[in-house]
């Protein structure tokens, strides 16, 4: 599955996703379920979280994590938006945050605002240009704690100076 970064870049996903039982490979970056932590891996460590997990309960084990993947089982299930915000704001997680599952291009702007950096694309459903274009559709936001890098939220712009 191609990967979209929030700056619009498209790349191949180099991470290897492991299930509960899969062996850790000799080389490469791996994504594992939360229950497998702590874990020694050859490359970088990524963590995959279900959307009903209370992220405020995450402990120091995530300090070794470089990537967290949050899941959207359906585009209509919005729990991962709040998980993302909690990871950024209350857990102060600063690594890469990725959205995976049933995503719609029209949701990307929201996802960027709450702190996602990358997206697993379903290119079988929508052409790549639709995804990259979607990042530009709505550039204005009223939410001052939630703007994208380089973007000024309305309320701050209004009261600047």
């Amino acid at each position: 599955m191609p990967l979209l970064k929030r700056d619009g870049a498209i790349s191949d996903d180099s991470w290897i996703t492991l299930g509960d039982e899969d062996d850790v490979p000799a080389v490469g970056d791996v994504i594992v379920p939360h229950a497998r932590l702590p874990l020694t891996v050859p490359g970088r460590l990524g963590l995959s979280l279900p959307n009903d997990l209370d992220v405020s309960t995450l402990g120091p084990e995530i300090s070794q994590v470089c990537l967290i993947v949050l899941t959207f089982p359906s585009f209509a299930d919005g729990r991962a938006y709040s998980q993302a915000r909690a990871l950024r704001n209350t857990v102060s997680y600063e690594g890469e945050l990725r959205a995976s599952g049933h995503l719609l291009p029209d949701q990307l702007a929201f996802m960027v605002e709450v702190g996602f950096d990358s997206f697993d694309l379903q290119t079988d459903r929508f052409p790549v240009e639709r995804w990259t274009q979607a990042l530009e559709d709505v550039t204005l936001t009223y939410h001052r704690h939630l703007s994208r890098p380089g973007q000024s939220p309305i309320i701050t712009a209004r009261h600047a100076g």
Binding site: D54, S56, F75, A76, D77, G78, R79, Y81, S82, Q83, R85, A86, N89, T90, L104, D106, Q107, A109, F110, M111, E113, V114, F126, R130, D137, V138, T139, L140, T141, Y142, H143, R144, H145, L146, I154, I155, T156, A157, R158, H159
Partner: protein, 551 residues
């Protein structure tokens, strides 16, 4: 009233273009109906029984004469020349074509209006006391806070895919005209001894299948903390609200199942945990918004207007309309004019393009060009000089809007029902019409006194039957519609949910059943006792006896 600055305008314009692209992708087949659905719902576009319906947001029920005129034009350009004012202070158009809706939204944007979040599982258009800013009993105008909430909730990235829809209502007055205890979040203003503002936060009220009166989680939340605290509530709801069953997905069910105390603890914990940014900008923003709601330049007038008194003596019909339809204004010599959209035998809340233009003209002539929509599906001209009432009433009367029935039995709330709605199980408009005809004598209505009849065409309760003094719920059994009656509901400060009386009635019987209930009340009421007070005192037995006892 509030005016868009360049940011608000650009925001809405971008949104129109985004929807234009989404619509063309649906029309080309790139988007499936399932995928298009949440996108169109975020822009107020429903698929109904006979076609698409577009619901336009009227934030906190306030609009200008210019906006009302634009709505009239839209109703002629894209619809059949009328619109329907709803119990959420919005207006809906029943007949737009899908391919026309982007242009319709662009026309709305030209007059600073939109349809964002009038549907879908997001924070809906915020509602407020329709007498905000002018009511004699009000502590302060709640609309600056409502506008702050409107902006904060517009395309909120975290809260646009909630378990279910989410409704917020605000009031700045002790007498609750905004039904704040019957919303997902209700906010009521209080002042402390130092005169500082704080908001009572009421959570988990609502109607629908499981009607509940909300619980207070904060008695006095400092105004600057409002948005931060709302976010904490929303986050707890978004993370823990049920998603396995859409009928159990509203926040009231979460509160009911977790317990109010535990829910409140979760919110406080989340609020304490979230970073507390400086509130300085919120204060500045509130001040900026508040300036738009500064009171107009009122003339210094006497509280008693001799010309009005003379007209009332001459014309008893006019005198009755003044008694029933004009509310107490906080400035001497002015009145709050409530325009009934409930003509005898008419469709509650409907207005033709011609009527909308008439209202716009009257607002410009008599009421600082401002109009309100009430959740009772009526319109309000908030700032009318008592000396102008007669001229105003004359114009209303010849345009089919002079009915003297505000708050009385003829002022029926009704959802669109099976005539339009895909969810309905029974028709509700014809029931409203037959009851309205049955009680067409204005003198009798006034003798009966305050009495709210609310009609819903299914258990989702858009017609607010749970809080009708007499509530009517349309159901269906084996292909036949029938109507269940509840008594004793109320949406005011002492809100209550009505209790079911007994076996339902057929379409032909229902107006007669209301008649029997009213006759029973007139029989047993004590001196000066309103219908609601009478039901609360006597309970349902005398009414059941009259309705169901064998003859």
């Amino acid at each position: 009233m509030y005016r868009y600055d360049e940011f608000d305008q650009a925001f809405v314009d971008q949104r129109v273009e985004q929807f234009r692209s989404q619509t063309s992708r649906r029309l080309s087949g790139e988007l499936t109906e399932e995928e298009f659905k949440p996108l169109r719902l975020m822009n107020g576009l429903y698929l109904q029984l006979h076609g698409y319906m577009l619901r336009v947001a009227i934030p906190y029920g306030t609009l200008s004469a210019v906006q009302m005129r634009a709505l009239a034009e839209i109703s002629e350009k894209y619809d059949k020349g009328y619109g329907h004012f709803t119990t959420r202070q919005n207006i809906q158009f029943n007949w737009p074509k899908l391919e026309d809706t982007p242009d319709l939204l662009a026309d709305l944007a030209k007059v600073e209006m939109h349809a964002i979040q009038t549907s879908g599982n997001c924070i809906r258009n915020v509602t407020a006391d329709h007498w905000a800013g002018v009511a004699a009993d009000e502590l302060a105008d709640p609309r600056p806070v409502a506008e702050l909430i409107r902006q904060w909730s517009s395309l909120h990235p975290e809260f646009s895919f909630l378990p279910r829809k989410f409704k917020v209502a605000v009031t700045g007055a002790p007498a609750d005209r905004a039904a704040v205890k019957l919303h997902d979040i209700g906010l009521r203003l209080h002042l402390n001894e130092a005169g500082e503002r704080g908001w009572e936060v009421i959570v988990g009220g609502g109607q629908g299948r499981t009607p509940m009166v909300g619980v207070t989680v904060r008695d006095f939340l400092p105004e600057e903390e409002l948005l931060g605290y709302l976010e904490a509530i929303m986050r707890v709801y978004n993370l823990f609200g049920r998603r396995d069953n859409k009928y159990k997905a509203r926040i009231k069910i979460l509160i009911h199942e977790t317990g109010a105390e535990e829910f409140s603890r979760l919110v406080e914990e989340e609020y304490a945990r979230a970073p507390r940014p400086s509130v300085e900008i919120e204060r500045k923003e509130l001040d900026r918004i508040s300036a738009y709601f500064a009171p107009p330049a009122y003339e210094s007038l006497s509280a008693v207007e001799p010309e009005l008194e003379r007209r009332k003596l001459e014309d008893p019909e006019f005198a009755r309309w003044v008694r029933t339809n004009v509310g107490a204004h906080r400035v001497a010599g002015y009145g709050i004019v409530n325009i009934s959209l409930k003509p005898i035998g008419g469709i509650p809340g409907d207005a033709t393009a011609e009527q909308m233009r008439t209202i716009a003209d009257l607002a410009e002539r008599f009421s600082h060009a401002e109009i309100r929509v009430s959740h009772h599906q009526n319109l309000v001209l908030p700032d009318v000089k008592l000396a102008d009432l007669y001229d105003l009433w004359t114009v209303l009367a010849v345009n089919g809007m002079g009915e003297a029935n505000i708050g009385l039995l003829g002022d029926i709330i009704s959802c669109p029902g099976l005539d339009y709605c895909a969810l309905a199980t029974a028709r509700s408009i014809p029931i409203a019409q037959s009851i309205s005809r049955q009680f067409s004598d204005p003198q009798r209505l006034e003798e009966i006194g305050p009495l709210r009849v609310n009609i819903s065409g299914c258990i989702n309760a858009c017609g607010h039957h749970h809080v009708g003094h007499i509530g009517i719920l349309g159901l269906e059994k084996k292909g036949k519609e029938f109507y269940q009656v509840t008594l004793g509901g109320h949406s005011g400060t002492d809100a209550s949910i009505g209790g079911v009386l007994g076996k339902g009635f057929s379409e032909d019987e229902i107006a007669g059943a209301v008649e029997t209930i009213v006759d029973t009340y007139l029989d047993i009421r004590e001196d000066g006792e309103s219908f609601l007070d009478c039901v609360r005192r006597a309970g349902t037995p005398p009414f059941k006896e009259a309705l169901y006892a064998p003859a």
